[in-house]
Amino acid sequence: MEDCARLFNEMYTEERAVRPHYAAFAEWLEQTPAARVAQNRHAAELLFHRVGITFAVYGEASGTERLIPFDIVPHVIPGEGWEHLARGLRQRVKALNRFLHDVYHGQDIVRAGKIPLERIAGNPQFRKEMIGVDVPRGVYAHVAGVDLVRHSDGEHYVLEDNLRTPSGVSYMLENRKMMMRLFPELFANQPIRPVDHYPDLLLETLRAVAPRHADNPVIVLLTPGHYNSAYFEHAFLAQQMGIELVEGQDLFVQNETVFMRTTQGPQRVDVVYRRIDDDFLDPEAFRPDSMLGVPGLLGAYRAGRVTLANAIGTGVADDKSMYPYVPEMIRFYLGEEPLLKNVPTYLLANPDDLEFVLANLDTLVVKETQGSGGYGMLVGPTASRDERERYRQRILDRPERFIAQPTLALSCVPTFCGEALADRHVDLRPYVLTGADVAFVPGGLTRVAIREGSLVVNSSQGGGVKDTWVVD
């Protein structure tokens, strides 16, 4: 097990002194009777259950609903630190959107020799159906979830860019609501920047990218349905924005126009905030066995009769094999130096990288380029010899499917484990919205690896969540 003292601790300095931005919380924790804290931790669990904030876990029996463990010790970020992150996020997502437009138009970045053509053409997430299609305002990734971690050097690194259908924002909102309900005094004592206007910002973003014909656009949220692991979030966001939550069966396309079936007959739809993957969107265009999609949707989209958010084909930019090129994108499209760091990444498609990685499996993290949610990754230092050997075989079969990165020493935040506090690893996912402009709420979703020493924070892998505070 690694030594937590060597890691960056968000709350304490190396001398175990409380950092200034945690001072108010630390003082509160010291003064609040342990019994009240314990009681409220229990109350939080009950409340989450009653409100039904659960998520379905794939691979577990009969649509199991599980509660995400919620920890009451917040992840606190000082205001000026956040401003720096915010500038970096804005820059990064801007460049990614420019890249996506370029990929489906002139491919200037390829012709300039910055990215090899086969990285794009050979990428399964590249959608040739999108070539030459103009989307409103040139925005592809309207909602981006950029995962950030802090290494032991105290610097933030981008772990990955989620540009398809990033989820988790409802937990960010519910965590805040829960904290304010349980410990209102914490919010009275210090200026914590609010986050609850996120649905408003999202709605504004979606309205800004409506097709030109729509004066008062009809916006819907398209969900795969209530068996999906993120269904709670879909319903929650639709309700908060006051838009219809639709399933594929509720929509149909006629004359390249999308309609929803209502009790008053068909009603036209202008913007679809879709939480369904590309592959399932339109059985006529993509997977023919999809029961979740809407036949003819791609045609209506290409004709500019409806806006999809996010756009089709954004996966080509957040793919792990494209990740190493993002700093280059920032330089190429914006003429700026990247403000946020990338983790050094080995592409196993390169023979040199492959050789190095196979020789150092016990120190590296290996991921599938198409993977997400923490499924199918190898954390070298904590894996058994046996696991490493089996993974080696998988890599050798299809090396181009994998990337590897040094094992990052994720920063820690004290977390309740039983009755006592212990340091646990966290990451941070801010949600970056792009419509008429780039917008976000301060902070994001903090995920915490509950198991001791674990670096995997994904909820599907037993991770928990914390409230995230940006304090001034």
């Binding site: 259950h49 009653r50 409100v51 039904g52 709670f232 939550l245 399933e247 509720d250 079936r261 009790t263």
Partner: protein, 316 residues
């Protein structure tokens, strides 16, 4: 609103109402069976709940004898019985879950916590808690859900479709309760009279929470004719057929669309029969025949609602 959502709201309310009515029917059977002293006759009372809910056939398929324990379990807690209270609670929650964006969080919380508590329930716990207490709890949860719906829900189409489900299910249920107990309402069949009849009749009234209303309206002893009049033709009793169908008809008027003309007509026709009906004529023609016809035309109405509001459509 979305057809699928309207349909889920409608069924969500129907299932809540169905759970409540099943609890009412079982509660009455339970109380009546306590009045009967002979064990053989006690079990007779347990046919009624099965008849009312139309589940005698599936019940007999899995149970050899009709007795209190078996019927109670089958109708309250059996997950295999699609109309058990447990199943209704599950269906109501599943429907609510698929339309969470259209109901208030308070409504969801009632159905969700009811289901969570329901899942913990088994025969032993029900017996330990007291059978009647269990039914009271089911009724309370239903009352709470209705109250929360009334008190928190935006008065839009979602509200209308939820109310539509409540009233059509309730009309169906009241008619079934009357139909199964109709033999005790026929004065000619039994001339025994006396205490047993009184308990039977008052049990029917209590099962639809109409005992106090009867006293208030008639200020008289309970007679079958008046009892039937109250539960069928009164316009001001919330569980009477006329009241429920008037609600259905009014609601349909507010949500009507281009395809719903025939549906509205059907509702109006059932309603006018109740508005202008006379209880003496109903008894003369046969109460059972009357109720059977009512149930058939209400089921037709249900199918028509399904077709005109919840089905797919194309642009003309």
């Amino acid at each position: 609103m979305l057809s699928r959502v309207a349909s889920s709201l409608y069924w969500m309310s129907r299932y809540v109402e169905r759970a409540e009515n099943t609890a009412r029917v079982l509660d009455v059977a339970w109380r009546l069976s306590l009045l009967v002293k002979e064990p053989a006759l006690q079990d007779q009372e347990w046919f009624a709940p099965l008849n009312i809910t139309g589940t005698l056939f599936p019940f007999s398929g899995r149970h050899s004898e009709v007795c209190a324990r078996e019927v109670l379990h089958f109708m309250a807690l059996d997950p295999e019985n699609p109309s058990s209270i447990l199943s209704c609670a599950r269906h109501a929650r599943e429907n609510a879950r698929s339309v969470r964006g259209s109901i208030t969080s308070e409504m969801w919380e009632v159905l969700n916590s009811t289901w969570l508590e329901m899942q913990q329930m088994d025969e032993e716990k029900m017996a330990a808690r007291g059978v009647s207490q269990f039914f009271d709890w089911v009724k309370e949860r239903s009352h709470l859900f209705r109250g929360v719906t009334f008190g928190t829900m935006h008065r839009d189409d979602a509200y209308e479709f939820a109310r539509l489900g409540t009233h059509i299910e309730r009309a169906d249920s009241t008619a079934r309760i009357l139909d199964v107990k109709y033999h005790i309402l026929l004065p000619s069949v039994k001339d025994v009279g006396g205490a047993v009849d009184y308990y039977q009749w008052s049990a029917v009234l209590r099962s639809v929470s109409a005992f106090e209303a009867y006293r208030k309206v008639y200020r008289d002893v309970i007679t079958p004719l008046k009892l039937a009049e109250l539960l069928i033709l009164r316009d001001d009793l919330p569980r009477s057929l006329r009241f429920c169908i008037r609600q259905v008809s009014d609601t349909l008027g507010r949500v009507q669309n281009a395809q719903s003309t025939e549906t509205l007509h059907q509702a109006a026709q059932i309603l006018s029969g109740l508005q202008y009906g006379r209880i003496s004529e109903i008894f003369a023609a046969g109460l059972h025949e009357y109720l059977t016809e009512f149930l058939v035309s209400t089921q037709d109405l249900g199918r028509m609602i399904q077709a005109s509001f919840f089905s797919s459509s194309k642009v003309e």
